[in-house]
Amino acid sequence: MKERIVLNERQKDTLKEIGNICAGNAATAFSQLLDRTINMNVPRVHFLPVEQVPDAVGGASQLMVGVVLQVLGDAPGVILLLFPQADARVLADILTGHKSRGKGIFTEMDQSAIKEAGSIVSASYLTTFAHFTRLSLIPSTPGIVIDMAGALMDYILIELAAASAYALLLDSEFVDAKKSVRGHFFLLPNPGSFQAILKTLGESDG
């Protein structure tokens, strides 16, 4: 079965523009939560073979803390927030107000705080995205995994791989002023959602 590659440069630019505004609002929510300035860079829009995603997110063996939410509603997909382990440690310390014992140890409290932060940032991003696209988008409750980036990603990509050879990835990098908390926010619409999103933006081919 042949699959048409559906994303052109103009569509990419539109998505980048929307992603930028969504990420801006998410950064504001994140800044308020942490009581420190968080900046989000202009997002990158990747449209690439599913197999190349682990490399696009920084290498399969990197140790990461990932918060994953499903996006439910009119354009289902997945949100993934990825933090290098040391940055997740700093984030947990800020959120819980405790100083940690060891850099690799995440207590229940730490994990729950990171998940909550992921939820707030995602909700803010999705609210803005829904506003632009007029789609109804609802985040699920978050899950957290502390493991190699590859192991974290393949779980997300497997479902996608069954439906399409390509993944659409909106990638926003965020960083605080001290550069001690750095991470990535990824939105991965399901293949069936690509067209739904592009259509609402007046960018659909057909």
Binding site: M1, E3, V50, E51, P54, D55, G59, A60, S61, L63, V68, Q70, S140, T141, G143, I144, V145, I146, D147, M148, A149, G150, A151, L152, M153, D154, Y155, L157, I158, E159, A161, A162, A163, S164, A165
Partner: protein, 164 residues
């Protein structure tokens, strides 16, 4: 050759064949399975890093290395073409973790388990003996398959390191 120079990386949805003294590696497997087949006598073998159990249920079928029921037969075929002898072939199976759960999402959840079961079924059909496995759990694995010894070293973040 030092350790690093001997390594050949097998990415997600890839399969590769090599001979001693090379080491086939695959990093960060979660629900994916890693299947190795090795001929101890001729020191030739291969590794596949497979995402899904069945090519018949996916839309885009171009990459045969993505699915168990095409990747394993191709792996076997390529090893035979590279000088492997069917009589000496032994398989090892790893991965297939259940990374974490959203209660609502059973289809994804069982993927690790389904990959494991399908791999065993296909190996049985092909008549390749499965001699060792390290599967399941809720954690990722990195694989280092030494074609000199046929040993498969498995590294994890929080569950130690082992060799099968």
């Amino acid at each position: 050759m030092d350790e690093r120079e001997r390594e050949i990386n097998v990415g997600m949805a890839e399969l590769k064949i090599a001979a001693a003294p090379m080491v086939l590696t695959s990093l960060g497997l979660g629900s994916c399975v890693g299947v190795t087949i090795y001929d101890q006598i001729n020191k030739v073998g291969g590794m596949a890093h497979i995402m899904l159990p069945d090519i018949n249920i996916i839309r885009n079928k171009l990459n045969r290395a993505k699915c168990v029921n095409t990747a394993i037969p191709d792996l076997l075929q390529n090893i035979l073409e590279a000088g492997g002898d069917k009589r000496y072939l032994k398989a090892k199976l790893t991965g297939g973790a259940h990374m974490f759960g959203f209660a609502s999402n059973n289809s994804v959840f069982n993927i690790g388990q389904r990959n494991i079961e399908k791999s065993k079924e296909v190996l049985r059909e092909l008549g390749v003996r499965l001699v060792a496995e390290d599967t399941g759990g809720d954690y990722g694995r990195s694989l280092f398959f030494d074609l000199v010894t046929g040993k498969l070293r498995i590294r994890t973040v929080a569950h130690g390191e082992k060799e099968i």
